[in-house]
Amino acid sequence: MKYGLVIKDGLVIMTSGAKYVDIGIDGERISAIGEHLNGLQTINAGGLIVSPGMVDAHVHLTQLGGGYRDGWEGYRTGTSAAAKGGTTTVIEMPMNQLPATIDGSSINSKYKSGKNKLKVDVASLGGVVPTNLDGGIQELNENGICGYFLSTCGSRMLKNDLQLSDDYTLFSAMKQIQKTGKVLAIHTENEAITSRLEQQAMKEGKSKLVDFANAHPVVAEVDSIRKVILLAKETGCRISITHVSSEEGVDEIIKGQREGVDVTGEVCVHYLYYNTDTAGRFGSLLKCAPPIRNGVQQKGLWRNLFNGNIDFVASDHSTCPIELKSTGNIFTDWSGVAGLQNNVDVTFDEAVNKRGMSLKQFAEITATNPACRFGLTQKGEIKIGKDADFVLIDPKRRHRLSAGDLEYRHQISPYINCNIGASVVLTILRGQPVFDLKNGVTNHYVGKFLHL
């Protein structure tokens, strides 16, 4: 028999490990894995690594700007960048859009606004705010989100933005979310401490990236992580700590797991790639909260990623118009790093090429684990019956990223001019190529919203 499509001769990363094997695809799904498969169409993956398409569990897109953020990254550019970078599924954050995604009406506006604008699949997190505790959480659940998100920290000047959650909101929301069985992702930092330290630093005229980092001390992150873990223990809510940036933070996650709390941690590629010494010259391009920390912390994060204490990597892609990154003051510049397009190549080069991570673990931290954590059962693994989502990586093809390579609406990235020792050569979404090196990103909007 012949399969619709066969990917031949690649080194395929399956859950049991990497193996030279063919993959048969019929329609949108993987229908066979084996040797000497025949297809109506064939892709020659000789010399390439075939990994499950990345599932980036932390992406901010801003299709709905609400009149304030209309020029920000939308679905077209965001999902193009995802396709080009080998990310076949993004989990979209409920914030930066205006209004924030906090109830049935706001998530449906998003679904509507993204129709025919997606080049990869998009799952959604619903937002938690002090004002959606009386029905919003349940509406989001009924409208197919794959998890929730709330933030304990950060400035929110606009009324419709995702407002911060106080401790009561956290507690009450966790009780409600526990009933849905879904995971609550949390940005954990102690706002009272970081906002006051920021104010003081500003008053003292400080303006460097390291000054911003000093205003977000490890203790502020750890305190918040400890708090949410305690509340998760109390309520039974499943939680994920977004962008853990300190080893002490990971330690608290490990302690929580030992106490039986269903808690995991994510790290972002930029915390693994940069530290305060190497990041300083980028200024606000690498401003993010929690901040990029010192080299000791960077090493600690790598160690914890390797030994499985950190569950997965994400981009926390959060981009904005360039002028918002150049207000003249690090403290008023927009906080967020553009990274979606370089998830796979950078992580592969840094983890596998430079640090010897196994291919099996590479697939776990980029695809299997985030898919599993957020219940995306069709995603994240190369296995019969799963969606035929792949990224084909040339492990030795070095390239130097230039601004012109970026599919983002705004061509900013901390990886520009970096020599990246691996390249994405082909991305396949549900059996269809959405990016290849020769033809670039597809013109078709073949992505869809994933409803759980």
Binding site: D166, D167, Y168, F171, S172, N190, A192, I193, S195, R196, L197, P217, V219, V222, D223, R226, K227, L230, L231, E234
Partner: protein
């Protein structure tokens, strides 16, 4: 040689344990411990246990009411009830007074009332969001023995100068400043936002009972705040003490903190060891406090932690108010605070020693040596040569039933009224001077002093 005063025939609790011995006193200090000591004056302690006078490390007195709280407990009545109860020194909290004790000027106002003291008084300085620019240092220079802050909501914002709970930044910054003084920061640890909101919701839904009030302040709200305080202490190097822990899980966090090298201790109060949630509504708002008195199982667990030494000492958290503030059918509206200082020693002796077999040596540590050590009251807390001659004589196995008129408090309210207490305070001695005896009552004069560190 003959001493000014000798206490004879008592069973004296020394650091090594209790022994029948004489204790000699000269110039207010213990000058000798041994057999057959001669004294110009002799007090016969036969049939009683001679314990170091209690050091109650958690007492609210309101000498200055600021026009708002003028009828609350002042020094005269507060220290009279201490004397009657066997408390020879206490640590005074920096709140309920108006203005709160947050800087040099406000503590000097308190110090100016030394002629109202019948026992010795050490002071806590406050840590509030508004005294981070010099107040902490002024208090240190003025001789406070420790600091106090609230993580739970505290203070009346309509009263200028009232105490205020800290936000997390003020806690963190305050700890950094206090670490430099080497003194201990005592913390009321409950999560403000969660307890406030749960209380509002309970009240709005028509709940009125004390049992419902207890449920509005669940264990995790206490545990969360304790963990936060311990983390900040670890970060800043500040020495801390968790006040009135009311649950086992809270003590467990303190134990963990110590294992991680944090200088953290905790206390519980007599009422958490005596009452349980089941009986609160039968007693009424007089027994309302925060954190709340919890279930019997928690009381049992607290006793285990007292016995193991994980809880360093017991206090009264004596926090009286005027009766009108307790006169309500809605537990959520009543003032939170229990009057207890006069029954620290007799109730604790009965419950700990007589009913639960805690040794006299451990009893003396719990009520005197450990709190004195924690706040560096180096003349207090133990019967040892060179220390202040502060004693409480306890008549064991001599029950009485507490009546309102027994109380020296300005406002005669107490949850122990009507309770049969199985031991009695027979005499209290402060620096060699009897300030209370069953025969003569409480002394009329004011021999107490402020203790300054």
């Amino acid at each position: 040689m003959s001493h000014e005063l000798v206490i004879k025939n008592g069973l004296v609790i020394l650091e090594s344990g209790e022994v029948h011995t004489d204790v000699a006193i000269d110039k207010g200090k213990i000058s000798a411990i041994g057999s057959d000591l001669d004294g110009d004056k002799v007090i016969d302690a036969k049939g009683t246990i001679v314990s170091p006078g209690m050091v109650d490390a958690h007492v609210h007195i309101t000498p200055m009411g600021g026009g708002y709280r003028d009828q609350w407990e002042g020094y005269v009545t507060g220290t009279a009830s201490s004397a009657k109860g066997g408390v020879t020194s206490f640590m005074e909290m920096p709140l309920n007074q108006v203005p709160a004790t947050v800087d040099g000027k406000t503590i000097d106002e308190k110090y100016s009332r030394e002629n109202e003291l019948k026992v010795d008084v050490g002071s806590f300085g406050g840590l509030v969001p508004y005294n981070l620019d010099g107040g902490i240092q002024e208090l240190d220079q003025k001789g406070v023995s420790g600091y106090k802050c609230f993580l739970a909501t505290c203070g009346d914002r309509s009263i200028d100068g009232d105490f205020e709970n800290v936000d997390d930044y003020s806690l963190y910054e305050g700890m950094k400043q206090i670490a430099k003084t080497g003194k201990v920061l005592a913390i009321h640890a409950e999560n403000a936002k969660v307890t406030d909101r749960l209380g509002e919701i309970a009240k709005a839904s028509g709940q009125t009972t004390l049992a419902e009030y207890v449920d509005s302040r669940p264990v995790f709200t206490e545990v969360e705040a304790i963990r936060r305080a311990i983390l900040f202490a670890k970060e800043t190097g500040c020495r801390i003490h968790i006040c009135h822990v009311a649950c086992k899980e809270g003590v467990d966090e303190v134990i963990k903190g110590r294992q991680e090298g944090v200088d953290v201790t905790c206390e519980t109060c007599v009422h958490y060891l005596y009452f349980a949630k089941d009986e609160l509504d039968a007693i009424g708002p007089v027994v309302k406090c925060s954190p709340p008195i919890r279930e019997q199982a928690q009381q049992d667990a607290l006793w285990e932690h007292v016995k193991s030494g994980a809880i360093s000492f017991v206090t009264s958290d004596h926090s009286p108010c005027t009766p009108d503030l307790k006169d309500t059918d809605n537990a959520f509206d009543a003032w939170g605070g229990i009057s207890g200082i006069q029954n620290d020693v007799d109730v604790m002796f009965d419950e700990a020693v007589q009913k639960r077999g805690i040794s006299l040596k451990d009893f003396a540590k719990l009520i005197a040596s450990n709190p004195a050590d924690r706040y560096n009251l180096d003349q207090k807390g133990r019967i040892s040569v060179g220390k202040d001659a502060d004693f409480v004589f306890i008549k064991p196995n001599d029950p009485y039933t507490l009546k309102a008129e027994d109380l020296e408090y300005r406002n005669k309210i107490s949850p122990y009224i009507g309770r049969k207490i199985g031991a009695q305070v027979a005499r209290t001695i402060l620096r060699g001077q009897t300030i209370y005896s069953q025969e003569d009552g409480v002394i009329d004069s004011f021999p107490g002093e402020f203790i300054k560190n």
